[in-house]
Symmetry: C2
Subunit: 271 residues, 2 copies
């Protein structure tokens, strides 16, 4: 772990990341010592820090990251956390925050090739996503919704779909969702809740560059159950076809379709 450029294992007890979740993070796949889709991650991180008005020195962070990756295993997962740093008691931030930069390297979670070939089973989580216009989209450190939802995942269920307070499908606990409905590729709107995932953004760019329209819109659970294909994506596992959806009082089955096959192809370009 690298904390503000120095190897370390501990954080200041008064860090605002700990007290208020006052910060943002990125989780990045590392392949051959390179951070996959770094440009996308860098852009989202910058945008998120801007939204929260955290004065991150991007160049310093990038420099620390490159040094850190040289000394880490060639394959794995890099987690970057940026918090507003130490602060006294009280919500109001210091006028000139001393930003905390944390870099952590994790081994890649076990990759089961069957998930790619046969797809995964998902549920609808009971835990909903709070709606919050200012925070929607960015990957901030206020993640209790995801923590509580992930506790609903049991053996054999790889992901859980999360609904907004308004009852719309938004994303899964740690991944974004795409669905094919009446021949169109759809991904839920994230303007009120959800994380603007990097793999989602990359896939949208690929589909669009390939002449395919991706509709960003609201999606009801009942509509999703009628989809011809569903797949999930994130920066670590890439793309997972969904072949079973347990919900609405029955099991819905889906097959691996053309959109998902293309998404897997796009994933393979960077993984």
């Amino acid at each position: 772990m690298l904390i503000n450029g120095k190897p370390g294992l501990t954080l200041a007890g008064n860090d605002r990341g700990f007290h208020y979740g006052d910060g943002v993070f990125e989780t990045i796949r590392v392949i051959r010592s390179k951070p996959v889709l770094w440009d996308y991650h860098d852009r989202r991180l910058t945008q998120a820090c801007g939204r929260l008005r955290i004065p991150l020195d991007r160049n310093l962070l990038a420099e620390e990251m490159h040094g850190f990756l040289e000394e880490s295993p060639a394959e794995g997962v890099l987690k970057i956390i940026v918090s507003r740093g130490p602060g006294g008691r009280g919500y109001k931030p210091p006028v000139t925050p001393e930003v905390t930069r944390v870099l952590q390297f994790h081994s890649l979670p076990e990759q089961n090739p069957l998930k790619r070939q046969k797809g995964i089973a998902v549920i609808f989580c009971r835990q909903t996503l709070g709606s919050n216009k200012t925070l929607a989209g960015i990957k901030h450190l206020n993640r209790l919704d995801q923590v509580l939802a992930s506790m609903e995942l049991v053996e054999g269920i790889d992901e859980g779909l999360m609904l907004s307070e308004q009852g719309m499908v938004v994303e899964a606990t740690r991944s974004n969702l795409f669905a094919a409905l009446e021949g169109s590729l759809i991904t839920p709107d994230l303007s009120l809740a959800g994380v603007n995932g990097i793999m989602r953004e990359y896939l949208m760019d690929c589909f669009q560059a390939n002449g395919e329209t991706v509709k960003v819109q609201s999606l009801r659970p009942q509509e999703l159950c009628k989809a011809s294909e569903i797949f999930l994506c994130n920066s670590v596992f890439g793309v997972w076809p969904v072949t079973k959806l347990l919900g609405q009082n029955r099991v819905h089955e889906f097959s691996l379709g053309l959109f998902c096959t293309k998404a897997l192809y796009f994933q393979d370009q960077v993984f």
Copy 2:
């Protein structure tokens, strides 16, 4: 600072409080080395840990707190933070978490007696409170809404009122709200957003024990502007009358009324 019963200044870099805001806290006024309204704080802390399924050892925490207060100044503010403790990468918590208990002592913020006598000026914040049924009421560590709202407070403005995503008045950035409307005492409903403040709960109990009904209901900004009195409360400053509300394109003025005078009297019973 006492961390898990030992004096210390640092936290494990993999604490889930830092990574996800996965925890809860209490801010308690200390007078003559006693934690004011401890029974109320203890009850809310226990309820919050229950809601998040954090297995806190209450007796151990209470024991640590009493020892810590003996060695701290007699007057000030005690902050208790309880997080789900260290965890690997990923939202899903460990099956048996090693809960982190942090105790911090802060000096009392400067008390300006004029605020009690002449009241304070408040604004309506642009930052709204996200709505989230599961998290509403408890004092968890996901506090970005309050952090962002508190950045709107400028010199001369002591607090900012926060609206829900639905446009209702819920609370202020670090305090709860009461208002008198057509002779009735009202405090906003907190079932979708807001913190169930200890001073609010204590005052409600006092008013009710005194034969006074407190209505818990939704409150629109326009209604609030027509109130005959408004006051805010929290565990540290107690009760602040609001005499100026900047909003809805003009300044609304309020005088210190009978309900607020009673609230100040109830506050004085414990402060």
